[in-house]
C-alpha cells in the first residue's frame, strides 16, 4: 500500500477514486479501434507472404478486382519511392518491395464492401514467389555460411570482419575488468538465451482511414501515439503530415507494440484509390502475431567475478540480439545500459551486436531490452549466490547502486530507491515464508530509465468551476485518473470536477506516445503547469474585481484569497464564481503548457517469487509473487499496483511459456493464443505489491514512471526459483514444462 496510512499533506494525491473510464469499459460502451464505423465504409484484407524470404516475381490482382464489390487493390507500386532511413523501413514493412522478408510480410491489400468479400478477394490475388534462403535464429544468423538476407545493413558502428547480417555494434565500460576478475574468489561465465515474445495486447490493431482526392485524410485508430501514427503514415504515403488528422480510440493494451505503424497507411492508400470511401482494417490475432512487432530474441554471454563475501569485482557481457529483418529494431542500446544498472561495480565491459533475421519488424515491449539483460545478469548473480551460500538480497544490498553511485552506463544517479526496494522485500513476510518439497524461491532486481519527451497540454476552466484537461497521451494504464488527481490537488477542487480527455492531433501540439512510462510523469507535469497558469489568471481576475494588485492575491482551496491583511478584506472568490462570470471579465480562462519534459526519475524494483515444480511433468506453479518498486509518489495507488501486477504477469509469461516457435521453413508455428501461451488469471496467484516512495525531485509531486520496470525481474526471478526447487538451472527461456523436465533429468544424471 502506498500512502493510505501515511500523512503527506496532500488531500487527493494518494487516494483511490473510481476510474473515469470504468463504467464505459465494464458496460462495453468504450469505443476501441474496431468499434468505429462511417457511412459508405469499405473493409480491407491483407495478402501476406507465406515464405520467410522470397523474391516477389509477380502480383496479379485481376481476379480479385473482377469481383463485384471489390473497390481497390494496393501494392508497393502504389507507394512513393525515394524514402530513406526509418521511413523506408516503415514503408518496406507496410508493403513488401522486391522481396518478402518474413513469414506474414504484407504484399498487397484489398478493399471491398464487406469484410468477408475482402478476405475472398485477398485469396484471389495471385503472388508468384521465388523462395530464397532464410535464417531466423539470432546465433545462426551470424554464423559462418548463414545467408546474408539484406546487403549493406552494417552502419558506421560495425567493425570490419563481422558477419554481413550484423547491423550495429556497441561497446562501453569502465575500470580494469581483467584486474577485477583476478581479484575475485570465483569467476563464472555462462550463455543465456531468451526467445522473442509478443506484447500480447488483447485488442488487435484496428483503424478506419479516409483520404480524399484533395490529398487530405483522417484516421481513427487504436494507438499509443497518434502523432507518431500521423508522421509515420504520412511519410510512407508521401503526404504532408499536416494533411492528416488522427484520432485515437480507447486502447486495449499496447505495451510498446502500438507506438509504431504496421498496417495503418494501407487504410489511407486503399481509401484514396477507392474514391475517398473510408476503409476499415482490423487485424486477426494471427496477423498480430505474425506481422506486428514482437520483442527481440537474444543470446547473451555473461561473466562475473565475486568474492566470498559477495562483493562483485567485475562484470562483462556480450549480447547478440535480432529485431527482425529491419535495421535498428533490436534494443541493444537499452539492454546494455540496463544490464548492470542495479549495481555499483568497479569494472565493467559491455558489448552487443544487432543481427537481422527473417522475422517480423520488432517493436518496443515494456522496458525494451531490460528484461533480457536482467535474465542474463541476475540469473548469474543468483547462481553465484547459491554457490557461495549467500543471501541474494544481502548481496544486492552490498553491491547495489544508490544515490551518488556512478551508473554502469556512465552518469551519476541522483535520487534513486533501489536499496529501499531491497529492504522492503527483505522485510516482507513472503521472503521468510517456509518452503516445502519441490519448492524454490527466486529474487531479482530490475531497472528502467523512464522518459519525459514532447508534451503539450491545455486546461480550460468551465463556467461551473470545473476544469477540462486536454492531453495527447492515450490512457493505457490510468493516466486520466492520475492527471485528474494532480490537477484537482493543484487547483484545490474535487477530483470529480476535473475531466481529462485524450484529444486528436488537431487539438494540441505534438505529443510523443504513451511510452517510456511517461504519461503520468510528463503529461501530469505539463497539466500541473497548465493549472498553475490558469490559477494565475484567476487570481488576476479576482484582483481586478477587488481593485487590488494581482500579486496581493493567492490561490488556495479552489479559490482566490487576499494574500494577507494588507491586501484588504474580501471573501474568497471560488473557481465557480470566477468561471461563471469570466465572459464578462476578460473571456475564457485556460492554461497551456508545452515542453520536452526532463527530470525523469530512474525506476528500480525488486521481486521475490516462490514456485513449486512438479518433478513428474516439469510444470511450474507460481505459489507467491511479490513486487516491490519505487513509484516516487503513487498518485493513484490502485493504478500503480495494477502496473506492478501487469508487468509481473507478462514477465512470468515470458519466463514460463511464451516464445515464437519457427519451423525449419521459417514459418511461425504458433500464431494463435492457443499455442502462444500467455498467462491467464487461473495461472497466477494474487500478486502482492509494495509501493516504495522515494520522491523524484524532477516532478512537482515526485512522480516516477511505473509502467515498465515490473516486467524486468520476473524472468530471472522465476528461473532462479525453479533452480531452487529442482537444482536445475534453465539458461534458455521459456522454462516450459518439457525444458524443465529435461533439465531435472539431466541434473539427476
Amino acid at each position: 500500500m502506498a500512502r493510505d496510512d501515511v500523512k503527506t499533506g496532500y488531500k487527493l494525491i494518494g487516494t483511490r477514486p473510481n476510474r473515469p473510464d470504468g463504467l464505459d469499459k465494464v458496460t462495453g460502451r468504450a469505443r476501441y479501434g474496431a468499434d468505429f464505423s462511417l457511412p459508405g465504409m469499405l473493409h480491407a484484407a491483407v495478402v501476406r507472404s507465406p515464405h520467410a524470404h522470397a523474391r516477389i516475381v509477380k502480383i496479379d490482382a485481376s481476379k480479385a478486382l473482377a469481383l463485384d464489390g471489390v473497390k481497390a487493390v494496393v501494392t508497393r507500386a502504389d507507394l512513393p519511392t525515394g524514402l530513406t532511413g526509418e521511413d523506408l523501413n516503415l514503408q518496406d514493412n507496410t508493403l513488401a518491395g522486391e522481396r518478402a522478408l518474413y513469414d506474414g510480410h504484407a504484399v498487397a491489400a484489398v478493399a471491398a464492401t464487406s469484410a468477408l468479400l475482402a478476405q475472398d478477394a485477398a485469396r484471389l490475388i495471385e503472388v508468384t514467389y521465388e523462395v530464397l534462403p532464410h535464417v531466423t535464429d539470432v546465433d545462426t544468423a551470424m554464423a559462418p555460411g548463414a545467408p546474408i538476407i539484406r546487403e549493406g545493413v552494417a552502419d558506421y558502428s560495425v567493425p570490419e570482419g563481422m558477419h554481413g547480417n550484423v547491423a550495429r555494434y556497441m561497446e562501453f565500460g569502465h575500470g580494469d575488468v581483467e584486474a577485477g576478475f583476478a581479484a575475485a574468489d570465483i569467476v563464472r561465465e555462462h550463455t543465456y538465451k531468451t526467445e522473442a515474445t509478443h506484447q500480447g495486447y488483447i485488442e488487435p490493431h484496428a483503424c478506419v482511414g479516409q483520404m480524399g482526392e484533395d490529398g487530405r485524410g483522417e484516421m481513427w485508430v487504436c494507438t499509443q501515439g497518434h502523432w507518431y501514427i500521423r508522421r509515420m503514415s504520412a511519410a510512407v504515403l508521401g503526404i504532408d503530415a499536416a494533411n492528416l488528422r488522427v484520432t485515437p480510440s480507447e486502447i486495449g493494451g499496447g505495451f510498446g507494440g502500438k507506438t509504431t505503424i504496421f498496417m495503418e497507411p494501407l487504410s489511407l492508400a486503399l481509401s484514396r484509390k477507392a474514391g475517398g470511401r473510408p476503409v476499415k482494417l482490423v487485424m486477426s490475432r494471427s496477423e498480430v502475431l505474425r506481422a506486428t512487432g514482437p520483442t527481440a530474441s537474444a543470446s547473451m554471454d555473461v561473466k562475473l567475478g565475486m568474492k566470498k563475501d559477495g562483493t562483485i569485482t567485475a562484470g562483462q557481457v556480450f549480447f547478440r540480439m535480432q529485431g527482425g529483418a529491419f535495421v535498428g529494431m533490436s534494443p541493444i542500446g537499452e539492454a546494455l545500459p540496463c544490464a548492470f544498472a542495479c549495481y555499483d561495480i568497479p569494472a565493467l565491459k559491455h558489448e552487443a551486436v544487432e543481427v537481422i533475421a527473417n522475422r517480423p519488424k520488432a517493436a518496443a515491449y515494456r522496458a525494451p531490452g531490460s528484461p533480457m539483460a536482467a535474465f542474463a545478469v541476475e540469473s548469474l548473480v543468483d547462481e553465484m549466490c547459491r554457490e557461495l551460500k549467500l543471501d541474494p538480497i544481502e548481496v544486492r544490498l552490498k553491491n547495489g547502486a544508490t544515490n551518488g553511485s556512478k551508473s554502469s552506463y556512465g552518469p551519476v544517479y541522483n535520487v534513486i530507491g533501489l536499496k529501499e526496494t531491497l529492504e522492503a522485500a527483505k522485510d516482507h513476510p513472503n521472503y521468510s515464508a517456509p518452503l516445502g518439497p519441490n519448492q524454490g524461491r527466486g529474487v531479482a532486481s530490475g531497472f528502467w530509465f523512464n522518459h519525459g519527451g514532447e508534451t503539450s497540454v491545455t486546461l480550460a476552466v468551465g463556467e461551473d468551476g470545473t476544469a477540462t484537461v486536454m492531453i495527447g497521451t492515450p490512457d493505457i494504464g490510468g493516466s486520466r485518473a492520475s492527471i485528474g488527481l494532480m490537477v484537482a490537488e493543484t487547483l484545490g477542487i474535487p477530483y470529480e470536477n476535473v475531466r481529462v480527455n485524450v484529444v486528436e492531433t488537431g487539438a494540441l501540439g505534438v505529443n510523443e506516445p504513451t511510452h517510456g512510462s511517461r504519461a503520468t510523469f510528463a503529461s501530469g507535469k505539463a497539466a500541473v503547469e497548465a493549472a498553475r497558469q490558469a490559477m494565475a489568471e484567476m487570481c488576476r481576475r479576482a484582483a481586478a474585481d477587488w481593485g487590488i494588485d494581482p500579486e496581493a492575491v493567492e490561490w488556495k482551496d479552489g479559490a482566490a484569497h487576499p494574500a494577507g491583511p494588507n491586501a484588504g478584506k474580501f471573501p474568497p472568490m471560488t473557481i465557480g464564481e470566477i468561471g461563471s462570470k469570466m465572459g464578462s471579465t476578460g473571456g475564457p480562462i485556460s492554461g497551456h503548457h508545452e515542453v520536452t519534459a526532463e527530470g525523469v526519475g530512474a525506476s528500480f524494483g525488486t521481486h521475490v517469487v516462490d514456485v513449486e515444480v512438479d518433478p513428474e511433468t516439469g510444470r511450474t506453479t507460481i505459489l507467491r509473487y511479490l513486487v516491490v518498486q519505487d513509484a516516487g509518489t503513487a498518485i493513484h495507488p490502485a493504478y500503480v499496483e495494477g502496473q506492478y501486477q501487469g508487468g509481473a504477469a507478462q514477465g512470468i509469461g515470458w519466463a514460463l511459456n511464451e516464445e515464437y516457435v519457427y519451423g525449419a521453413d521459417g514459418r511461425l508455428q504458433n500464431p494463435i493464443f492457443l499455442d502462444y501461451r500467455i498467462p491467464v488469471a487461473s495461472d497466477l496467484p494474487m500478486i502482492d505489491t509494495v509501493i516504495v516512495e522515494v520522491p523524484n525531485p524532477g516532478h512537482p509531486y515526485g512522480v516516477r514512471g511505473v509502467g515498465e520496470t515490473g516486467i524486468t525481474p520476473p524472468l530471472p526471478a522465476v528461473a532462479s526459483a525453479i533452480a531452487g526447487a529442482t537444482g536445475a538451472r534453465i539458461r534458455s527461456l521459456p522454462c516450459s514444462p518439457p525444458k524443465v523436465l529435461a533439465a531435472i533429468k539431466a541434473n539427476r544424471a
Binding site: 558506421y156 510498446g256 542500446g333 537499452e334 556512465g410 552518469p411 551519476v412 519527451g453 517510456g516 512510462s517
Partner: protein, 81 residues
C-alpha cells in the same frame, strides 16, 4: 568546457579519445561541436543519440542546457514501451 564521454566503440572516430572537451551551452551546440571537431562522429549523431548531462538523461532535447563544467555521457537513442 563540458566533458563529453564517448562510449568505447565511438572512440575510434575521435582519435581514440574517451573524453572530448566541448564549448557549448546546449545539447544541440554540443552535438554540432562534436561533429565539427570529429566528422567521423557524424553518422552516430545523425542516427540519433540520447545524452546524460550531469546525471540527467536527455532523450532528444537539443535545447537542454549544458554547463561549462558539465559531465556528459552519450547514449544510444533510448526507446520506451
Amino acid at each position: 568546457m563540458a566533458k563529453v564521454h564517448l562510449w568505447a566503440s565511438l572512440r575510434r572516430f575521435a582519435d581514440g579519445q574517451e573524453v572530448v572537451e566541448v564549448d557549448a551551452t546546449t545539447v544541440g551546440q554540443m552535438m554540432d561541436a562534436l561533429e565539427k571537431a570529429h566528422p567521423g562522429l557524424g553518422p552516430a549523431i545523425k542516427a540519433g543519440l540520447s545524452v546524460a548531462v550531469d546525471g540527467e538523461v536527455i532523450a532528444n532535447n537539443r535545447a537542454a542546457p549544458v554547463g561549462p563544467d558539465s559531465e556528459v555521457f552519450l547514449l544510444q537513442r533510448l526507446k520506451g514501451g
